[in-house]
């Protein structure tokens, strides 16, 4: 009997041990900050071009650290994911305190993660870093979050514009000058439609495009006509700000005139048939797109290369939407390096972030992903110095529009996606979509985040 009890005890112990082992996170760190041993710092990238770029830079960082007497190794966590997959996965990792030490984050994710306390503030590190003085003042200002702190060191930026097929418009005899107003642009789009019978413009809309319907579709147009929809001082959203209704009306106008590729927008991966197939093939002539279009999307090593890109494609700024609006470019903070609050290797992670955000390593990444520099000392650094489109985007940043937002951006993005979905499904006009948005966003944000 004793033997049976012993077996039972061992079996129960094994199960408990296994469960605890499964629940605990493995640590591959050779050492922690402050200890004498070597430190292994992990860095996560989720886009292939960024993975490739950072992988090449790691040996240089390790050698640089060695020269400074620091034994820091880098483990690249290369995990190619879509934006939504990345967000879902890393959010779980951050909650479980299992996230890599350094994460390359799209700016739209920073407010939510910083607000939840998942990211460490970087202000103290930045104060003591000489590279910080070279960041453009407007970029520095845009990095500051609702609580006055900085949580991600931006290393690439860009300007969102309307990319258009100059070759085709010229062939059709359609004006390629900057359209001053949306009415002007829509008139040209209708001419294109008459010539091709297709749907000439793609702007993210609907739920399939995820958060990008807000960040790459709706928000840039909204920001150009109305900058009062969010207040960083109060942390509240003004859902009754007039720009919202104007943009919903614009979406409905484009839908009702048959200018949007509705079926493609409802594809599970709507960017594929639109940006990666029809725009390169010339079946869509205008696309809302950030600076990365020159490299990441349509460059020679991009997702869907367009031969002779610089000759065939050019950009317009967004036209004015309401009376008195002037054409504008929308600047985005792009990607930045964030450090989880739970990381045991913050100092080493910050050293890596600073290395990757400086000089040649930064220039290599900018060219790889197709982005503009947030710093004033990169214009002469090759290979970035050889990229006129990226250099121009860097110059345009200073005059571009940007409205920093904070807590609740995800909920607003969700409500905008659902409301634009109603439009492209033919279930709502601009007014009805706005009403649906107002109700949904108010519900989702709750009373503390909505201006009375």
């Amino acid at each position: 009997m004793k033997r049976i009890r012993m077996i039972a005890l061992v079996a129960a112990g094994t199960v408990v041990a296994s469960a605890l082992s499964a629940c605990s996170g493995g640590s591959e760190d050779g050492g922690k900050d402050g200890s004498d041993g070597p430190v292994t710092v992990s860095v996560m990238e989720f886009q292939q071009s960024r993975i490739d770029a950072v992988a090449k830079l790691i040996p240089g960082f390790e050698a640089d650290m060695k020269k400074q007497g620091k034994d820091i190794k880098v483990k690249l966590v290369a995990d190619p994911l879509t934006d939504d997959q990345f967000k879902t996965k890393v959010t779980q990792q951050l909650i479980a305190k299992q996230a890599p030490d350094l994460i390359d984050i799209g700016d739209s994710l920073v407010p939510g993660w910083a607000g939840a306390g998942y990211l460490a503030p970087l202000d103290d590190y930045l104060k003591g870093w000489d590279g910080w003085d070279h960041y453009y003042p407007h970029i520095k200002k845009a990095m500051v979050r609702q609580d006055g702190k900085i949580y991600a060191l931006v290393h690439d930026t860009g300007v969102q514009n309307l990319f258009y097929r100059k070759d085709q418009l010229t062939q059709f005899g359609i004006d390629t000058a900057q359209p001053a107003t949306w009415d002007d642009l829509i008139s040209r789009l209708e001419q294109i439609k008459q010539k091709t019978g297709g749907t000439p413009i793609v702007i993210p809309a609907g739920t399939a495009w995820g958060g990008s319907t807000w960040t790459e579709g709706f928000q840039p147009i909204l920001g150009g006509t109305d900058k009062n929809y969010y207040s960083l001082e109060t942390g509240k959203w003004d859902l009754k700000s007039p720009g919202f209704r104007a943009v919903f009306d614009l979406y409905h106008t484009m839908y009702s005139k048959g200018l949007l590729p509705v079926q493609d927008l409802e594809n599970p991966n709507p960017w594929e048939p639109t940006k990666y197939v029809k725009f390169p093939e010339g079946k869509i002539q205008v696309s809302a797109q950030g600076t990365s279009g020159w490299k990441f999307d349509w460059g020679p090593q991009g997702k869907a290369p367009i031969k002779g890109l610089n000759e065939k494609v050019d950009t317009w700024q967004y036209p004015g939407l309401r009376s008195g609006d002037a054409p504008f470019g929308w600047s985005g903070l792009g990607f930045g390096y964030g450090i989880p609050a739970s990381s045991p290797n913050k100092d080493a992670a910050m050293l890596l972030a600073q290395y990757l955000s400086t000089g040649k390593p930064l220039a290599d990444q900018l060219v790889s992903s197709g982005a503009a520099s947030p710093r004033d000392d990169l214009a002469d650094v090759k290979p970035y110095a050889d990229e006129p489109k990226l250099l121009q985007a860097g110059k345009d940043l200073a005059t571009s529009v940007y409205v920093p937002t904070g807590d609740g951006a995800e909920q607003v993005a969700q409500a905008v996606a659902a409301a634009t979905e109603l439009i492209i499904n033919g279930k709502a006009d601009g007014a009805q979509a706005y009403d649906a948005f107002l109700k949904n966003a108010t519900d989702l944000l709750g009373p503390t985040l909505v201006k009375e």
Binding site: M1, I4, R5, I7, A8, A11, A12, V15, V16, A19, D84, K87, T88, T91, Q92, I95, P111, G112, W113, G115, A116, G117, Y118, G206, T207, A208, G210, Q263, E266, N267, P268, P273, D407, G408, E410, Q411, Q414, A418, E421, I424, N425, D443, L444, G446
Partner: protein, 313 residues
């Protein structure tokens, strides 16, 4: 069971007079050994998360934003919100359609048909047919989804479009044009095997003499199936319906990989709605409440099935 009884009997000694209390005390280590690990796993991975989910459903917990730092108890607000939310109610409706067409009608009818046919002595190539039907169950869910994404692909290279192209039809984007019907077909394809196996096993237990007697009385094949076979296998049929209903209500991967709930939310069944709310939009409180509502519906359906079949579960 025999071993335990034998062990207990031997332990009682030559008189065999050990009291039940003493016998229980002596056998508990074995019971613990056999049931303990499973019970522990159930508690840790099923009961505890379910209880925690029920708690979360009463809070406004979020995964991101300032609200994530200080979740508040909100009572039944999440439930009130969901039960008046047209998107959630629509997802429940779509889940009902999905279960009805793919599990209750599709898998059950086709699985039964396959089982009955393969039980016929005159059917040739049973092994081949059986293997073909079983294959979808063996294929991992992701692989199955990718294979069907290729079959239903919107370009002319898609397998289905190639077939319809033989009759002069234009290429169609099936997952866009008929999304729910497409995922229903895929789920039927994947679930037939399990139905067939269960029904085959049940049919083997039907006494041959009853069938023979009915046949001699002049009953047609359909009448024999309706009035003799079906009543005799009622228990397994309802058990299968219970299992397939539960698993289909919780179906996620197949639909998500094929359509991600689109286009326009036309395949956003409840599991996808919950995923979007809880993980994509970070509203874990609302997502948990939606899960609890779904759990309640499954429990009610389960009770109905058990009552109808008088199945012991």
């Amino acid at each position: 069971m025999t071993t335990i009884a034998a062990t207990a009997s031997a332990a009682a000694g030559p008189t065999g007079q050990a009291s039940p209390k003493r016998r229980r005390r002596r056998t508990w280590p074995v019971v613990l050994l056999l049931l303990g690990p499973a019970a522990l796993l159930i508690v840790v991975f099923i009961l505890a998360p379910a209880v925690y989910g029920a708690y979360l459903s009463l809070t406004n917990t979020q995964l991101t934003g300032f609200a994530a730092r200080d979740p508040q108890f909100v009572g039944v607000d999440n439930y009130t919100y969901l039960l008046s939310n047209s998107e959630f109610l629509a997802s429940l409706g779509r889940t009902g359609e999905f279960v009805l067409y793919s599990a209750i009608i599709g898998q059950t009818v086709l699985g039964m048909t396959a089982a009955v046919l393969l039980a016929r002595p005159w059917v040739r190539g049973k092994g081949l047919v059986g293997a073909a039907i079983l294959m979808p169950m063996v294929v991992p869910e992701v692989v199955a989804s990718l294979a069907w994404a290729s079959v239903l692909s919107n370009n002319s290279a898609g397998t289905l479009n190639r077939l319809t192209g033989l009759f002069g039809a234009d290429a169609t984007d099936w997952l866009q044009v008929v999304p729910l019907a497409s995922v229903v077909v895929v789920n039927i394809w994947r679930g037939i095997a399990f139905a067939m196996i269960m029904f085959q096993a049940a049919l083997e237990d039907v006494p041959g003499e009853l069938i023979e007697a009915a046949r001699m009385d002049g009953a047609t094949a359909l009448q024999i199936f309706r009035f003799v076979t079906l009543p005799l296998i009622r228990g397994p049929v309802f058990l299968y319906l219970l299992l397939t209903t539960i698993s289909t209500i919780g179906a996620f991967g197949l639909v998500y990989f094929l359509t991600q709930g689109g286009p326009g939310g036309r395949t956003t069944i409840s599991a996808i709605y919950i995923y979007e709310r809880a993980l994509q939009f970070s509203q874990i409180g609302i997502g948990s409440a939606a899960s609890m509502i779904l759990l309640a519906l499954v429990l009610v359906l389960g009770l109905v099935y058990v009552r109808l079949a008088k199945v012991e579960v």
